[in-house]
Amino acid sequence: MNAPERSAAFLLDDEEEKVEYQADTKVSNAGTFTFNKEDHTIANLLRMQLLRDPQVKFAGYMHPHPLVHKIHLKIQTTTSQVAPAETLSAAIEDLSNETDHLITQVTDAIDKWKRENDTGLMGM
């Protein structure tokens, strides 16, 4: 009776934006991004990538409640010249390039394996 639709875990509600930003009032050069209808899959990936950026002083994520599908990602940069959103965009771009690289690697690896272990039966 009270159970929400399963699709509410990944489909945005009406009037809901995918990403929201709230600048931190107490800490300089920091802000929290809220990703709606996302989970650990992408949040951990972004957080780990942000931690590799030397311009990022702090990066952490929270999934406040398992039944509420949103992720808070807090980023603090080292200088006021670099906005948290900039580092986030850079992180996403790096990950996107890494995924592209992975796609070519996997395709090549599969072709290589098929050539070396001629299956012939399965059909391409």
Binding site: A9, A85, S89, D94, G123
Partner: protein
């Protein structure tokens, strides 16, 4: 971009339903993201709606509908024999502009089995026995889509596979229904999950301190070999040295047995270890087993595509925030 990584992939084994590969030079967040996407967010087809004309079987409507939903549905693109990625061929039904359903967003299956009609055609020894309605009785309106059975023609003919059993009928019972399959992801219901198992293990880094090992007797070395329940060590026949087994990565489960055995052998606790087994932080062995709806390599490619599309979508949304 300076912080980009360049992961490497090495395939260990590919079968139509199974793939095993090594992912390296990336970290656990990427490995875990891939695993989670393979399990939860790769789109597949599954029966979502069932309309009954006739059901006098022993199972009620929703029970049969539940069973139909769990049948893996295989999409084979034109000119290929592989269970392929269906996301390009179908629209998610929520996004489709049609009124209720159409060929663009769904596939219709029909099932009509009447015990009495079938009974008369059966050979004598089988007559009047319970008749199993299986996934082979489902007829599709789309040539490229069918319930997953066997991998190729050879196995089909040899195995006499009757399909996935749905319900058994007795005399006088009739099952007639229309089942509509739609594209979806496992987050919405587990029936859309393309994998039976998608998992990764850490690559074991085994360092053997040969200097320290030279001070051990052969019996002590054999003791170390036997101490490990995974048997990742062995004694080299010629030199008598301790070496790691070739396929240690398949068997290592990182138990503490070796550590305990070594502590007992050391003269002083602060001495160096003879053998150290550590989990690698950037090398993973993935094993992905498919349910039959898609080939395992297709699942991997689809997961990467889903990840890429998700990242692009987020990039665009973050851009919007900047102004």
């Amino acid at each position: 971009m300076p912080q980009q990584r360049f992961p490497k992939v090495e395939i260990l084994n590919i079968a139509p339903h199974f793939i095993q590969f090594i992912l390296s030079e990336t970290d656990t967040s990427m490995a875990n993201a891939l695993r989670r996407i393979m399990i939860a967010e790769v789109p597949t087809l599954a029966i979502d709606l069932v309309e009954y004309a006739e059901n006098s079987s022993v199972l009620n409507d929703e029970y049969i509908a539940h069973r139909l939903g769990l049948i893996p549905i295989r999409y084979t693109p034109e000119g290929s024999l592989k269970g392929g990625d269906c996301h390009a061929a179908f629209l998610p039904h929520r996004e489709c502009v049609c009124f209720d359903r159409c060929v663009r967003c769904s596939v219709e299956f029909e099932l009509d089995v009447n015990f009495d009609k079938v009974n008369s055609t059966r050979p004598d020894q089988e007559r009047d026995l319970a008749l199993t309605v299986t996934s082979r009785n489902l007829t599709s309106n789309n040539m490229l889509v069918a319930p997953a059975h066997f991998l190729n023609e050879e196995e089909q003919d040899e195995s006499h596979d009757e399909g996935i059993s749905i319900v058994k009928l007795g005399p006088g019972q009739h099952l007639k229904l229309k089942a509509i399959a739609r594209m979806g992801i496992s987050k919405e219901h587990a029936k859309w999950c393309p994998v039976a198992v998608a998992t990764y293990r850490f690559w074991p880094i085994i360092t053997i301190n040969q200097e320290a090992c030279n001070m051990l007797t052969l019996e002590q070395k054999q003791e170390l070999v036997d101490a490990c329940p995974d048997r990742i060590l062995e004694l080299d026949e010629i030199t008598g040295n301790l070496v790691a087994v070739e396929n240690a990565y398949e068997m290592a489960t990182f138990t503490e047995d070796l550590k305990v055995a070594q502590n007992a052998m050391k003269k002083r606790p602060e001495d160096d270890d003879f053998v150290r087994v550590v989990q690698s932080t950037d090398r993973f062995v993935f094993s992905v087993e498919s349910t039959g709806a898609m080939d395992a390599e297709e699942i991997l490619m689809s997961a990467l595509r889903v990840l890429k599309d998700r990242l692009n979508y987020l990039a665009a949304e973050v851009e919007k925030l900047k102004d």
